[in-house]
Symmetry: C2
């Protein structure tokens, strides 16, 4: 009877500890209530704790990230691939709690989000992995993510070369291009324009598989730098963003735009001789 | 001695089980090796298992999702907010293993990814939550995500109204707009154009906080429908995507584009009288 009371006290204690760790109250009951009592038992006799976020990080291997990510592209495409290149290493080197995370939760980013061609899925997988191990300030997460996206827009993809005979879709050299944008639609479109290959052909797929390896390796480099206090932001906004945001940016006269994507990839460049006309369109902004 | 052997055997057995569950081999050792032996103890005496992915789902409350997501926007913006609106309910109703997931892993999506204005962060948080509970086929995940993005492009945001006196940034009515795009840059820009409010002002922030609630509620509705076999895809591609992809889409003569975003938000509309000229630009595509 005394033992049962001790066990019940321990259970409540764990649920509270779990609530703090997870940032919410884990309530028992419901059709999956059994899960909670299992966790309670764990706390009582096994000394399992949910580590506070950000989760522990150890130096990772950029070359291994390339191989894991490239293989991952073959399994479930770019977003899953980059996430795999980082999380599998953390599962191997740190173990718990990373072993609790299903890599599949980042399937959704392939083709820029269910075929929509928005943010490159490789960057989505990278950003989520970064957010597991950088924090607690969102500003710190954004420093690393911003540097990765900036690098992506200027890098000549793809650089990674799979071992001879081990290519997923196409052996040999793949034409390279610079996207100038973090968007899948633009990244793939620019590569098609440069390479003259089809957007859904095996060469494009191979290009994205190798890009997945390149992004995973760069992310590991940034994370290793961040956690060894060697991180240094190098990316500068493009000329169009600098120029356009002098009027359209935060705190400026026509503050009606947000973003860091190269403006003239979608908007007409502004002729200085037409500046007055260009401004008139926007003067009604409060 | 015999007990130690049994414990060691049990430990190996768990690590193998963990490897299968997590899709990788969880190796002990390294500076965090102690985590693994704790998990091994858990397996030995506490019957803790990592559930197979996708993780268990129970019917969630769309109204509660709005409140949790709106509050979440006030803590760490849109991506975190929507993720919170779904994951906190799963932590409460299912408990473990959701209680192991730090909601903060989706901080990165705010402002469309570290200020880049790409995919709306609310949709990033929603997509990751969806991917925890839908699967194992990526095609199934994409069905739900595609429906959510399509709905987003046509919905007049914001609809949610916080209780009187409880607004995060601005009380009262907020002007509404239809984005026509899943991109933060376009969604915010179109709202600024309609409302005449500034892109970084308190009214825009309030608009995005309420949009966060709307997206969380719609995501819960889609997940409840999916898990009760009531899901029905309703979204149809825009006219520009249908028309442009007849030449630029997969398997077509100029297959050099991918995506579902309204083409004429960034590209000039094609005048049928200029179609030949327009085609000539692309004929070199392999």
């Amino acid at each position: 009877m005394a033992d049962e009371q001790k066990r019940e006290m321990s259970r409540r204690k764990f649920l509270t500890a779990g609530a703090i760790a997870a940032g919410t109250m884990a309530v028992g009951g419901g059709i999956f209530g059994a899960f909670n009592s299992n966790v309670a038992q764990a706390k009582e006799t096994c000394n399992i704790e949910v580590p506070s976020w950000p989760w522990p990080y150890v130096k990772l291997d950029a070359e291994k990230a390339k191989v894991l990510a490239y293989e991952g592209y073959g399994i479930d495409r770019c977003c899953y691939g980059v996430f795999r290149g980082i999380m599998v290493q953390l599962q191997e080197k740190v173990g718990y709690p990373y072993t609790m995370i299903p890599i599949e939760i980042m399937q959704w980013g392939a083709t820029g989000g269910a075929g929509w061609g928005t943010l490159c899925g490789a960057l989505m997988g990278a950003s989520t992995a970064i957010n597991f191990v950088v924090g607690p300030s969102r500003k710190d997460v954004e420093k690393v993510v911003n540097e990765l996206y900036g690098w992506y827009t200027t890098f000549e993809f793809p650089k990674y070369k799979p071992p001879l005979g081990k290519a997923i879709k196409a052996e040999g050299a793949i034409p390279t291009s610079v996207s100038g944008s973090p968007l899948c639609h633009v990244s793939v479109g620019n590569w098609c324009s440069t390479s003259k290959y089809r957007a859904e052909g095996k060469e494009r797929s191979e290009r994205c598989a190798r890009l997945t390896a390149d992004v995973a390796a760069k992310t590991v480099e940034l994370l290793n730098d961040w956690h060894s206090n060697k991180f240094a932001a190098a990316y500068k906004d493009t000329q169009s963003v600098e120029e356009c945001m002098t009027c359209h940016g935060k705190g400026r006269s026509l503050e009606n735009a947000r973003g860091k994507q190269d403006c003239i990839q979608c908007h007409d460049d502004v002729n200085p001789n037409d500046l007055l006309e260009h401004i008139k369109k926007n003067w009604e902004i409060k």
